[in-house]
Symmetry: C2
Subunit: 226 residues, 2 copies
């Protein structure tokens, strides 16, 4: 598969991401030194669990899914990353071995940053180390949030929580478009697609309208109470 250097558009996506926002231009440039971009089709594997990985990844367009495989071949999503999100940084601290699989969802552009370079830079520049710590912390939090939701909430409650996460605080009524297919959302929430579908229809009774990928909320409080 072909890899290219970053063009200016790719660079703009990276620099606009959460990870780079507090870093100086010089620091960012140093991190992006030697970065490459590749195009992927649906289901292309980015890395395999337990195999060596010497990059940190960033979604430039499309989506990436990080998941684990069970003995029986079933898959469990750990996280889904949209454009601008960095992932795969864990391997950097664990002997450059991936602890999960990652694949592209839909056709996606993925940047690879050299993890050895990044580590070296983190040693020299406290602000880069700081940015890395914040990244690790956010990702840890994401996993903890998922774990807590899985253990505390029913399927409709998890869906309600997901919707509320996209709804600005003030508004009672609100609508947005799902950033991916429903089967992806189902995986992210730890549900079978059928269960997600049923959860949506349970929420219909609480003022949630679903038409294709469009979600409308008519009564925020009702959702919060759910």
């Amino acid at each position: 598969m072909k890899t290219l250097r970053l063009n200016s558009n790719d660079k703009a996506v990276l620099l606009g991401s959460r990870f780079f926002e507090k870093l100086s231009a010089a620091a960012s440039d140093a991190i992006l030194e030697g970065a490459v971009v590749s195009n992927h089709e649906e289901h292309d594997i980015l890395f395999h669990q337990d195999e060596p990985v010497d990059s940190v990844f960033c979604v430039l367009s499309g989506l990436a899914r990080v998941y684990r495989l069970g003995k029986d071949g079933r898959e469990a999503d750990i996280a889904v990353f949209p454009r601008g999100e960095i992932f795969g940084e864990n391997a950097m601290f664990l002997g450059n071995r991936a602890t999960a699989n990652a694949q592209a969802i839909g056709s996606s552009m993925i940047a690879r940053l050299d993890s050895r370079n990044l580590r070296r830079l983190a040693e020299q520049h406290p602000d880069i180390a700081q940015a890395l710590m914040e990244l690790l912390c956010r990702h840890g939090q994401m996993a903890e949030d998922c774990l807590a939701e899985d253990r505390l909430l029913t399927a409709p409650q998890r869906v309600a929580s997901y919707i509320l996460g996209h709804c600005p605080d003030g508004s009672t009524t609100f609508s947005f478009r799902l950033p991916f297919q429903k089967n992806v959302l189902a995986g992210k929430l730890g549900l079978a697609p059928e269960a997600l579908s049923r959860a949506f229809s349970a929420l219909r009774r609480s003022g949630v309208t679903v038409k294709g990928r469009m979600i409308e909320i008519h009564d925020r409080q009702a959702l919060e109470r759910f």
Copy 2:
């Protein structure tokens, strides 16, 4: 509640922990500057979700449990930390607000390290930053492991996995003592105590003997297959 300075024994536990193992004595001393110790009884709250926290914690003896509360008052364990483990470091990177609750399990001694001090030191000393990154990464991994197990394994399989995690690689037969009560293990595995009990009795058919807190494995492969 009374807090004391570290005595030499406390210090030995801290320095023997994973976090400090690669750090120089000077670095460790700097981190422990101003650290205090407190004694806690069963169920003492160490910190509350969403409240300010300006320490990083370390278990000197006993156990600490980190958990989230559901709207209905139900609790979901995020992690259980034994002696020598550091926790509560997430708040350091999230505006000094706890993202979960923590309490002592049984009577425990807990050290508090000043997180502002630790942050400042991490800026100055790359090896301390490195140790922090590894800590964050391990904790993130723990949460991801839990999430994947919850989603991929049944109760007996999770228990089998827990047991195998305590069994050295070579041996077919093996025994060990649970480091805490079964209801704690149940919580850690995301199970009701009854479900843990039934899981143990299901494993009995695969060569696992349970007597009080003692666990005996007679056939490692059978467990792995489960």
